[in-house]
Amino acid sequence: MKFLSIVQLTFRESLAKKTFIAFMGISTFICLLFIFALNVDIVDGMQSGLSIFGKEVSNQIDLTKIIYGIEGGLSVLLYTAGIFLSLFATSNLIPTLLKPGFVDLFISKPVSRFQILSGRFLGSILIVALNIFYLVIFSGLILSIKTGIWNFGFLWAAVIIVLSFLVLFSLMTFLSVISKNGPLSLMVTYLILFFSPLLLARDKIYALLSSKYFGYFFDGLYYALPKTAEMGAITQFLARGVPIDSWMPLWSSLLFAVVMLGLSGYIFQRKSF
């Protein structure tokens, strides 16, 4: 109950920021677009013709491809723009918590500091998860009901997107706890987000390195930091029904999140406000 109220308050605070309302609005717009752009003619209980954005689609195999393609595209959109915006919209939730006069009120309640920080963290994750699942479930349902093609990979893609956000948000939380500076934490997190594809392609620059130790260094960075590029690929593959060869990028990134949260909790615990 006490813990839940911290989660609820964070949730309420995010809603007050309106960014998430805008987010919901865009999602709703996309779904409405599907409702009207997707035209299925049912003749004698059988599907006789289908058009998407005015283009006729003739056979069932093409249709499946198109639906998986749309859902793959949506998950890429959510993975990139969705996470980008979510990080932006949540970037001041932790720094606000740490403001003098605000954090005092939490600490003076019968809750542990660990509960305060994790409640705040969970609240932030929940609001983003709500937004992502809203679009995925709503648009997925429209597409599936209209065409009869059910793609549960799309739902799993949403789970990966939320987990990827969680990983990056844990980094941002850590940075906020040490710097108390929202914009700075956001920028560094963006940097890591964009650095990931470069690290993934590190073998391309190995030939240029003067020493093999630089190679080890980049390997180390690759394994230590969140693997956002590969998690993006996993998301897209799941949505398009492509088998995944390795889950390593996911679990190693989650491990990173656990370490970040542990460190954040430890530092928050020892801080005076």
């Binding site: 109950m1 006490k2 109220s5 605000f102 005092d104 003076s108 542990s112 005076s272 406000f273």
Partner: protein, 305 residues
């Protein structure tokens, strides 16, 4: 059991350069109003925040309600009005009391009964549904007070509670605190304004530069030194010499002397001496020093620290 007890509690910042609080030893008895006085920057807020676990001490230890300050569970019996507190601005008073009440572990049912009562108590009923960013400083302060009372606490810390509140509101707050004391609650009151504390506190501590300079009952403060104003018929006798013989410091004014004696017996020895010398005593008046004079005295004496 003391509700608050500190043992050489110390908080230094920047590796000892800023001594916010040094070897603080205070005890607050149950059911009392304890006033912590001191100029700005004295360390009052530091002390209260340390007692609540918001600031970690760099030395010493303390207990609140019999528990070490590291035990956050005890906070369910504590209320706190922070100096410059900051509530989420997108919420109204009712919602704030609801969220923070839940955080104190109260049930929805208790809160739905308690919230209107408290809003009434601090005169915010008409503003209950207005978002707090529209509140004046005084209203925010009254909401803070309601928030501090939401869990029906045994011990209440109030850090500059009358800040930004007009004289009428101040009187209301003082009356409220006195009423809370009759309910057996202990109140720990921080203020840099003597007049706020003087009238209602049972006990006072004066803090300066992180050091407790004086601690005691309000009456004790004034009667630490007994001073009397004496008017006598001037004769041949040297009053100053006579006092010097009794080890009594004297100040001479135009029409009277002011003597500082240890106690009444000491004063009577002086009277005996004067009568033995056949000096006519016109009047003896105990000199009242206001707590304010005393406060300023102590603060200035503490200047050396």
């Amino acid at each position: 059991m003391y509700t608050v007890e500190t043992f050489d509690l110390t908080k230094h910042y920047s590796g000892g350069k800023v001594k916010a609080l040094t070897n603080c030893n205070i005890r607050v008895e149950e059911g009392r109003i304890f006033g912590l006085l001191g100029p700005n920057g004295a360390g009052k807020t530091t002390l209260v925040k340390t007692l609540l676990g918001i600031i970690h001490p760099t030395g010493g230890s303390a207990k609140v309600l019999g528990q070490p300050i590291t035990d956050y569970h005890i906070h369910n019996k504590i209320g706190y009005l922070a100096e410059n507190h900051r509530f989420p601005e997108f919420l109204n008073a009712r919602q704030i009391l609801l969220y923070y009440g839940k955080m104190s572990g109260l049930s929805k049912e208790t809160l739905s009964r308690k919230i209107p009562e408290l809003l009434e108590l601090v005169n915010l009923s008409d503003w209950a549904d207005v978002k707090t960013h529209k509140y004046s400083k005084g209203m925010a302060q009254r909401l803070g007070l309601a928030h501090a009372l939401i869990n029906d606490p045994d011990l209440i810390f109030l850090d500059e509670p009358t800040d930004g509140i007009d004289p009428v509101g101040r009187k209301e707050i003082r009356d409220l605190l006195l009423k809370l004391r009759t309910e057996g609650k202990t109140i720990f009151l921080n203020s840099h304004q003597l007049s706020e504390v003087e009238r209602i506190s049972d006990e006072i501590a004066i803090l300066k530069n992180g050091n407790v300079l004086q601690i005691g009952r309000v009456d004790d403060f004034i009667s630490v030194k007994s001073q009397y104003q004496l008017q006598i018929q001037n004769g041949t006798l040297s009053f100053s010499e006579l006092c010097a013989g009794l080890n009594i410091p004297v100040l001479q004014a135009e029409d009277h002397y002011t003597v500082t004696v240890e106690d009444e017996r000491h004063l009577n020895r002086l009277i005996d001496k004067l009568r033995a010398e056949k000096v006519l005593i016109k009047s003896i008046v105990p000199r009242k020093i206001t707590l304010e004079d005393y406060f300023i005295d102590v603060i200035e004496e503490g200047e050396a620290l």
